[in-house]
Point group: C2
Chain length 728, copies 2
């Protein structure tokens, strides 16, 4: 049992980890790509309530295709019986001819055949599950939402080989005919409270840490109103007038029985008030979660850092549900900028690619594009960039093939909104977000940060066009990206500030320097050494620079510093910033934290005393930073076909951990004297500095200059290097 | 009781006509424009079965917006209580602030307010019904599918006054809170069979005429399979192996009871076979219909013509249901070309504008446009042209305002598919239909008929752009239309044939002359007198010209002849063509009829012995022709603000009838000696020829040259003219 599991056991439960891997030869429920994600996204995002009132998103929500045809060309040596399960009304065609009714079992003769199943479902997603000896529904099936197969007056069927657009079917992990996608539920597990205390007119229960689920009353009896006030803090739960969520339930139970509140909520505390004619024996909760594997791990000599990693992992897990959501108390929605960070953290913790795919599909919705994703310009760009990273980490071209048409139409939307300078600025209905900052910043005119993300989005399109063999568009996107990259420097780089300026309005360059463009330019490798150094000194490490007060942007700020080799500094920042939240009692990380604020005022946000989310996915970045820049493992070629390991202890004495990949994981132990690596995948390069001549018994170490060394890591072969750590 | 009603009574029932008119001050259920039509269209078009197998359409089916915001600015002198009914999960905001929960009744204080109701509904259409003293839900409410109203970290709500696209809400006739749109059902009425006869192993029932509904078994008892085979002809019902629709129902009734078959079907005959352990007392049916008013009427001295009008009216009514469908046996779908004719006939019978609007919205679906309407190029064009006519007959700008964005995007789709000559030809996935013809015709290359419809579609866009004050696009469409109109003549008019040729392939003009382009050019007024005369002689009245064998295209052929003053000829054609169907036992008019075919072979189509529909909307054109070209009434300005009455008896002795308008109807009686007119609307011009000097006691008659006379018709003032008819 590793430390992480112990941590969960200490907190009262153990994650049960089911296998999620779909065997290649296994039948699974399939549907039109994106449809299930959009449909499920609608359910999830329309579950939010604020003080008992339904609180839906403010952007367009799309729907699945209600009529979908599934088809497969098959060739059988011997006749085969297949069973067919369908969500929706359907027909089956074999070799272009209807079979009678809606058959659940058919025999297909030996030979070559076309099998078509056409499904209508308005309320849910058209989906099928087919299983025979050699025939089974999987992603190799073709799907279309308009088969265009008509029959002329002579009875001749039209030719659908041209003009009909087929896609590969999509699936998740519904691998049993009796487990159809419409019935999906997150897992549940009972959990007790850890203490209770009479307060005001009721009882305050503490579940020991931030959690998510359904409150259970045992032995509930009588008639009257049962009120449950939820709090991420005791103050919030006790504030019947201002807590963000509550349930006021009319009860009429003649005989004592169990009662589970119907909507799951985020809380650590609940405050229960009941009418005097009501009674119950006890309270518990059903923890609701997505069963994902904790594939990544981190451990070190520094217990504070370990705790920060653990709480980050827990924070990310709470927000990794049907989709990557922003926060569990609110908004419980998918926000593209937030989700983008969850993707990156996910690659260092769960490596659960389906969660990335579900979220990307659901965020994108359907054409036509009528506004930016979540209405936010920057969030459109993060959506693109997330696909770039997805490919880099997973090597999975399938998602790109499925999404490419929608990537193009979203990029067309962006391109159609450029100004005469070829840049994007907020038009009517656009929200230019960037960050919740405590300083004033303009969102008007050409904001340099938006151009930078736009540029990276164009690079993503270039990459994906290449993957899709779309040479013509690859060239176009490449040119657009190159033009914008050069404009970024010519328009926004200020020689006087020696940094990027924030924006330009009506042709006049502004004078404000904000951290955003500067730190992202480092991350995207857009700067030469001189400018990199300038950004580092003038912005990132300048004590007088504008301060970031969200974990959201601290993510990139600290990543940029790590990329510049400032791990020592970053470790200190992590200890201070995330550690301070722990000191203030955090059991999950927050939406926003300005160390100058004090408790309980820091609970406020959006003009509401408990408006702030205390469990926000973007608070979990240490999982990513520690994996990528301390354990130092990242892919070089897509899907870790090749990768680099560049461990950096900072001021740690030792650390060890796992970084997951598409095929198993990479384990590293690193102390000031020894590095030990074992990898399940690809070909790695260990790069490290040593004051002494390093020694490895099983591999050749190459000196690449000065005290820099490199070593190849072969899949399955453990290597141990004795060396002398250089403090960075 | 007029003759039409007597006709129905003779056939066994009386239509009950409810009032449909929505009072201006009445609350009604409202929704996002088009959404209900699309949703209901999905239900209707996915009800088709063929021999027990589900048979859905082959084009894209769209969905409603699942999340819709309804809003209204209000001003109250005194506080007002309103009740709110909603289909879906919802919240209510007053002046930007949530009200608790999902209130069903709220009190709004005196003063100015913003009321917002936001509704989520995945399975059905988000819809609301609001009623107070002065506040009520109607088409003046604003709706949007993305309100873009976000709240910043300080609690400030964003400005939605720019960048959010609002539309006016749509409604139909759901004027009671307890009659929500999701519960819509057509009306039902019991109807007996008129004869029965034991046949083969069962019993054949005859319901006396083509009908549509649910078969009822009374006193059904026992266990076994009950099989119902439906037939538009006795041959079809008795053909258990080839009838187009059937129900084979497993029954287990210990106690005798009534049993209604669940799906409604088209039939005149049913053949029932049952297992010997089953018994029943009797059979009847529930006729299922849309309650619409028969506002138009026609009567004359010619009983055969009267009968044809009656059967046409009944044919149209059977196909006027949730939408204008093509046929009641099959396809029971909306086909744009078929619907276009139903619209025109409707203006002379029911004048039920909501049926046009529902059909137009449902056919159009949502963006993006991925193929032609019904996948058929010509059907896309009819969709546009239908809107031109809709405006002319109804004067209703509202539908155009609601549809205009979707008209533009559909036209963009068309424009993007032009070839280098600016013409449209079938691309991959396009179906170029034109007609089910018994002669060979090419669908390849630039088909002149498609360019002609395209041109008229561009003219429709020009008109609608003008209505929408979209001056820029008005000019563009006008230019495109003018260019295409001139190309039509230069490319396709053949001096050697003195007619339009059918097509041009690879730059080479074909030599075939088909009727289509030629007759439509007359209808659209695209030809000068010389060319008009040429078309009339060389195509329309040429006995060697290619023969049309569908009522579908006979519609336009006869209309063109009427427009050329050939009413005598047309009357004879109507008597022959439609009359022959009656002689063959038709109780509704058919999908296709070639007088050379003989019974029962003529029942076959699409390679199936009973494939032909014997009740097809496009068979009902006499309703239109007799109203428009014999009674001679048509609008000159939109919505009959001004109109023309140009009666033409052909060889009739007398005729009389009503033509409905948006405000009441226009009644005309016309014999060879007297014309009598009374109108509820607008300003009319009676135009007639007389051999004698005509006399009118109440109005001034103007001689406009030769034996031509004109007279103004004033709303509400009956005029009688004594004259002497000129045989045309």
């Amino acid at each position: 049992m590793n430390r992480l599991k112990i941590f969960f056991v200490l907190l009262g439960f153990l994650i049960v980890i089911p296998s999620e891997i779909v065997s290649a030869q296994q039948a699974t429920w399939i549907w039109y790509p994106g449809d299930y994600d959009i449909w499920l996204g609608n359910i999830v995002q329309n579950r939010r309530t604020e003080r008992g009132t339904f609180f839906p998103p403010f952007w367009k929500m799309d729907s699945h295709y209600v009529l979908v045809e599934f088809s497969k060309k098959i060739e059988l040596a011997t006749p085969e019986t297949i069973t067919i399960k369908v969500e929706g009304q359907y027909n089956v065609k074999l070799d272009g001819k209807f079979l009678p009714g809606s058959p659940e079992k058919i025999v297909i003769p030996a030979g070559k055949h076309s099998l078509n199943i056409k499904v209508y479902n308005q309320a849910g997603v058209p989906a099928i599950f087919v299983r025979g000896e050699t025939i089974y529904s999987d992603n190799s099936w073709k799907v279309t939402f308009e088969d265009k197969e008509w029959i002329d007056e002579s009875g001749k069927a039209s030719d659908t080989s041209t003009g009909t657009v087929f896609m590969n079917a999509a699936s998740w992990n519904f691998n049993s005919p009796d487990n159809p996608p419409s019935q999906f539920k997150l897992a549940k597990m009972p959990m007790p409270y850890i203490s209770k205390e009479p307060k005001k007119k009721g009882m305050l229960y503490d579940f020991g840490k931030e959690t998510f689920g359904f409150v259970n009353f045992h032995g509930l009896k009588g008639k009257g109103t049962l009120a449950v006030y939820y709090g991420e803090s005791p103050e919030e739960a006790l504030s019947v007038d201002y807590c963000e969520t509550f349930d006021r339930l009319p009860i009429e139970n003649a005989i004592a029985g169990d009662f589970t509140v119907s909507g799951s909520k985020a809380f650590r505390y609940i405050y229960v008030e009941k009418d005097h004619l009501l009674s119950y024996d006890s309270v518990s909760m059903l923890y609701e979660y997505l069963p994902v594997n904790y594939k990544g791990s981190f451990n070190s000599n520094d217990e504070r850092i370990n705790k920060i990693w653990d709480v980050s992992a827990y924070t990310l897990h709470l927000n990794t549900r049907e989709f990557f959501i922003d926060g569990i108390k609110r908004d419980r929605w998918m926000w593209s900028g937030d989700a983008y960070q969850s993707y990156l953290m996910n690659y260092y913790l769960f490596f659960d690619s389906p969660s990335v795919s579900r979220t990307a599909f659901s965020l994108r919705g359907k054409d036509p594009v009528t506004s930016h994703i979540n209405t936010i310009m920057d969030y459109t760009f993060y959506w693109f960039i997330g696909i770039y990273d997805y490919y880099q980490y997973t090597g999975d071209k399938n998602l790109i093939e499925q999404l490419y048409p929608k990537m193009k139409s979203l990029m067309d939307f962006c391109l159609s909104r450029r100004n005469s300078e070829g840049m994007m600025q907020g038009l009517a209905g656009d929200w230019v977000f960037i960050d919740w900052a405590d300083f004033k910043m303009s969102k008007a005119g050409e904001v340099s940060f938006e151009q930078l993300l736009f540029c990276r989005s164009l690079e993503t399109m270039e990459l994906c066009a290449k993957i899709m063999d779309d040479t013509e568009n690859e060239k176009i996107y490449a040119q657009l990206a190159a033009d914008l990259r050069s404009k970024l420097l010519s328009v926004f780089w200020s020689e006087s500030h020696n940094a990027f300026i924030h924006n330009r309005e009506n042709g006049i360059a502004g004078s404000q320097v904000t951290p955003y463009t500067n730190m992202f330019a480092i991350l995207f490798n857009y700067l030469d050494d001189e400018k990199t150094k300038a950004v580092k000194e003038n912005v990132l490490l300048n004590p007088d620079a504008l301060k970031i007060t969200t974990p959201y942007m601290r993510f990139y700020e600290l990543e940029a510093l790590c990329a510049l080799g400032e791990q020592n500094y970053v470790l200190k920042e992590i200890r201070d910033y995330w550690g301070s939240m722990l000191d203030l009692g955090a059991t999950s990380f927050w939406e926003k934290y300005n160390p100058e604020e004090t408790y309980p005022d820091l609970l406020a946000m959006y003009g509401r005393p408990f408006g702030k989310s205390l469990c926000h996915a973007w608070g979990a970045s240490p999982v990513y930073l520690l994996g990528k820049y301390f354990l130092g493992i990242k892919p070089v070629e897509p899907g870790y076909q090749s990768y680099i390991v560049e461990p950096c202890l900072g001021d740690l004495q030792w650390m060890e951990g796992d970084v997951p990949t598409p095929d198993g994981s990479i384990h590293i132990y690193c102390s000031t004297k020894e590095i030990n690596i074992k990898s399940d995948t690809g070909t790695g390069t260990l790069r490290f500095k040593s004051l002494s001549k390093p020694v490895c018994k099983t591999a050749t170490i190459k000196n690449t200059g000065g005290n820099l060394y490199e070593l190849s890591i072969i899949k399955g072969q453990e290597v141990t290097v004795k060396y002398t750590n250089v403090k960075y």
